[in-house]
Subunit: 620 residues, 2 copies
Amino acid sequence: MLARERIRSALHHWRIAILVVGGLLLVSCKGDREKESTRLALVARTGPATSPGDSTTRYADDGQWVRPGKDFQGTRFSGLTEINNQNVQNLHVFGTFSLGTNRGVEAAPIVSGTTMYIVTPFPNYVYALDLTKDGMPTKWSYKPHPVNASQGVACCDVVNRGLVVDGGKVIFNTLDARTIALDAATGKELWVTQVGNINLGESVTMAPLVVKGRVIVGVSGGEFGIRGWLKGLDENSGKVVWTAFHTGPDKDVLIGSNFKPFYKSDTVKDLGVSTWPADQWKIGGAGAWGWVTYDPELDLIYYGTANPGPWNPEVRPGDNKWSATLFARRPETGEAIWAYQLSPHDEHDYDAVNEDIVVDMPWKGQQRKVLLRPDRNGYFYVMDRQTGEVLSAEPYGFINTTTGVDLKTGRLQYNPEKATRTGETVRYSCPAAPGVKDWQPAAYSPRTGLVYIPHQNLCMDEEGVEPNYIAGTPYVGTNVKMYAGPGGHRGLFDAWDPVGQHIVWSIKEDLPVWSGALVTAGDVAFYGTMDGWFKAVDARSGKELWKFKTGSGIISQPMTYSYNGKQYIAVLSGVGGWSGAIVAGGLDARDSSAALGFVNAMKDLPQKSTKGGILYVFAL
Amino acid sequence: MLARERIRSALHHWRIAILVVGGLLLVSCKGDREKESTRLALVARTGPATSPGDSTTRYADDGQWVRPGKDFQGTRFSGLTEINNQNVQNLHVFGTFSLGTNRGVEAAPIVSGTTMYIVTPFPNYVYALDLTKDGMPTKWSYKPHPVNASQGVACCDVVNRGLVVDGGKVIFNTLDARTIALDAATGKELWVTQVGNINLGESVTMAPLVVKGRVIVGVSGGEFGIRGWLKGLDENSGKVVWTAFHTGPDKDVLIGSNFKPFYKSDTVKDLGVSTWPADQWKIGGAGAWGWVTYDPELDLIYYGTANPGPWNPEVRPGDNKWSATLFARRPETGEAIWAYQLSPHDEHDYDAVNEDIVVDMPWKGQQRKVLLRPDRNGYFYVMDRQTGEVLSAEPYGFINTTTGVDLKTGRLQYNPEKATRTGETVRYSCPAAPGVKDWQPAAYSPRTGLVYIPHQNLCMDEEGVEPNYIAGTPYVGTNVKMYAGPGGHRGLFDAWDPVGQHIVWSIKEDLPVWSGALVTAGDVAFYGTMDGWFKAVDARSGKELWKFKTGSGIISQPMTYSYNGKQYIAVLSGVGGWSGAIVAGGLDARDSSAALGFVNAMKDLPQKSTKGGILYVFAL
């Protein structure tokens, strides 16, 4: 299918009924393929309760929320039902807490036992709030000695995507590339591991995943000429047990005899070297700053690697493996089991760090073990998680830079008209560099079988320029100017049917929806907006049920927990991140190329949101 | 009366019944003189509704709150009754807004018409929030071009005590000593006047008072060797119409033929020169950074001047006039009508900037026009506001540095044992430098006849050292170390009967109560704590009726307004100020003398509060 056909087809799928509700456009869509869509409520085998394994079982307790993604599978689904689509309009503010910071807050509040834990943006303070006491006072706080230079190597605000609690430890990463474990009861430092070198542009913004005694940590810095990696640290000592590089020879990538990618083209030796010109792989980017999920049954972790560096693709002919690649690895050894490159020779910063939600679902008549992946390149992938086969890759947003995914070869088909060229400005490339969805994680409800996707609708003008590598300094090679995509709205909160492969309902938002999603067994989905609204919508219809305006913009991850038999919903408010850097970083709206071109699309944000860092807890 | 007798007598007056309520000590006191205390509900002639004059009448509208003190009289009393002592427990968070700053917030939210206006700490952003719209979006915001050097000459955090709305203009001061008028509808700059010179240590933190076409502005900087002043600017042009210095020859102080102080000793010519050694008056401090109130009938403004500089009294023998002095002046010309020096030759930084609440009340059988003044030196003054006569000066906290006020001479009697001496540490001087009450304004209810006083209970060790004057740098000459006073609690929220001259009820708080007070015709009094609790208590009994934990500590001024027939209560949360500098300024708890010795008393604050800047609006 050609690009235009693909777009026409996608638009055709969405018979869009537009209804103006309270100043917003609520878009209700019905897919052509609805007939194919069997609701998964009865058949889905995912969700907290079905996961085996010691720590998995522990976290089946819906009263807690011990990691940003809720469960190993990354569903962000809670079985709690006290707050539901019949009473959510009665939610009120139960408590608040000021983080003491004013930069973009992307983390999720974490609840383990009777304590809530929060890690802030740089300088990465950690707070433990006592849920048993009136006003949730601070039980302890921890302030890492900050390495201020790390702010200079953060491409997109100084965010942190959250901490994890495991085995009585609070484990988190700092912008200056340390992984730190604290005693969850006292805040006492247990170990500190310097995992990266900020002088080479390595920073860490992602939330670690702890699984089978390993703390899985990946690096940020694809705009600074790093050589990307994922590491496995020993949970007890902090010692680095394994390092998997994402470029270079197979032995560095931890590709060995058990590596069985689905597509034949990926079976050639040392592709991490041969798909790059000369020594470019040594500074080829491909970090891992997004989400890692885990299937306890197959004992595999899943995560995507980031964009190749520099952005300008003309200086790195070849597929640039293993950038923008989905890896399945053994958590204990890091050994690669399969890999699939989502965006070979990434032309547009289609960084592949998005989440892989672990779900068992029916597919063409049989039950399959799949990954659900709304990728940054704009396609919603359904992947066989045992083999790495692409079962489906349908667009869930407006795309003109590529024309689809060839399911025979697994290969993304680029539109040559939109290729980035040095010294020439290519206009109206869609999606823009942050993709149809960036890091902001989707949620999956086994009750509705739908994936709730917060995302953006942006296009861009793109011009390649000659990049120069100087260690630890920006290494991008592309000038970008972003703006709203078709329709003029910059954000969407959509419900996607992964079986029927279509949007079920869609809410248009003026600003990019840069927050994560939460969905509960009360059939309510939650998300936030960059101008501060925290919203609850009916998980089946998308109807807005409730909203509250928080103090700053929301770009973080909502969660829910229970204490003493009562359900609470919590979210952090604090605008920033790449999309909100104009406010959090105080950037000048006149500089269109600031924040890698995002500022141009967000010139009105300073009138709509103020800097902040506030926890909100809601209850009935 | 000697010091010890005075203290014994004061303690005797308070027959203290202690009751532990929810972890707090609620102290109920009954004064010996209760028989003298006629409740003022029927006779009080103050309050918004009784004030003549164009703009006064306008602000009788209890739906608005156009200046921090509510009315010209500074009562901080609202006639609104929807929220009252029967239903206040049902208050909930209606809305929030992040100020985008993280330093101490001392301002009051201001409501004029259907807009709420807020000025933040340095860099002194101004926000106009639209009350007519869902979520109170920002109508406009204004960011002054900041002069960062001004942070260096702020003694005690970079606070701002609020803006005023008058005649369609928003008028406020900036830390870097500018007074700025904006169009209240659009935020457009109307005029900017540089009123002080930060290179000489002049900053401005106070809220202006606008009266009769004059914008009254005073200077901060008593710790930097400034020569203090109050200015009257033309409201329309911003032009400085008059400047009244607080030291120097009479002509500079605007003391002329109409100057009629009550006490004969104040009638000598040029006391602003003769009560200082040599040229010391030129760098003698005595700014005006607190409250200005106004009696429209007598056409007099009332305000107190700040401490003499440097703190070390041995380098400035004499009364150091007109430091620590209450002035009555004509607003249009600045002409002094009377003056009364509260703390002559101020030994302990008993800065006299506290408020003068304008009240008509019965006194020994006749109705008197008085000022109610809970002074920093620890005495609650009842002053005849026509003449400057001290009618009463009773201690409202623990005092051992002075032994009382001689009502014949009006003179404060110092305890020579507690005199500050160079090279010697005098221990256990009470109250400490911030006094029994600092800037945090009390409220007065004409219904109960009581004054609601938020204050602290601190003592100090004090050592004089040789100060050196270098323009624009700290010039203090005293090392101070503060700690909790008798009883161990550091704060109090008291109801004082100005007729009976005794405490009616008293709430002990662990931390200094550094917020202002609000009282309403619903017989509820509101205040905040430095660990973030916003509290409502019964105005007659002091019983705690409701509390909510805000995100940061509260050191600001609560207010109330109505929109569309509904009553709201608003307060800003953001710890800091002198008392909270350890958090707002990130000071090291190991340095006891930091923040002029306040840090020593607040070493636990970082465990109890985090930096912030958040508006909270509450409603039923």
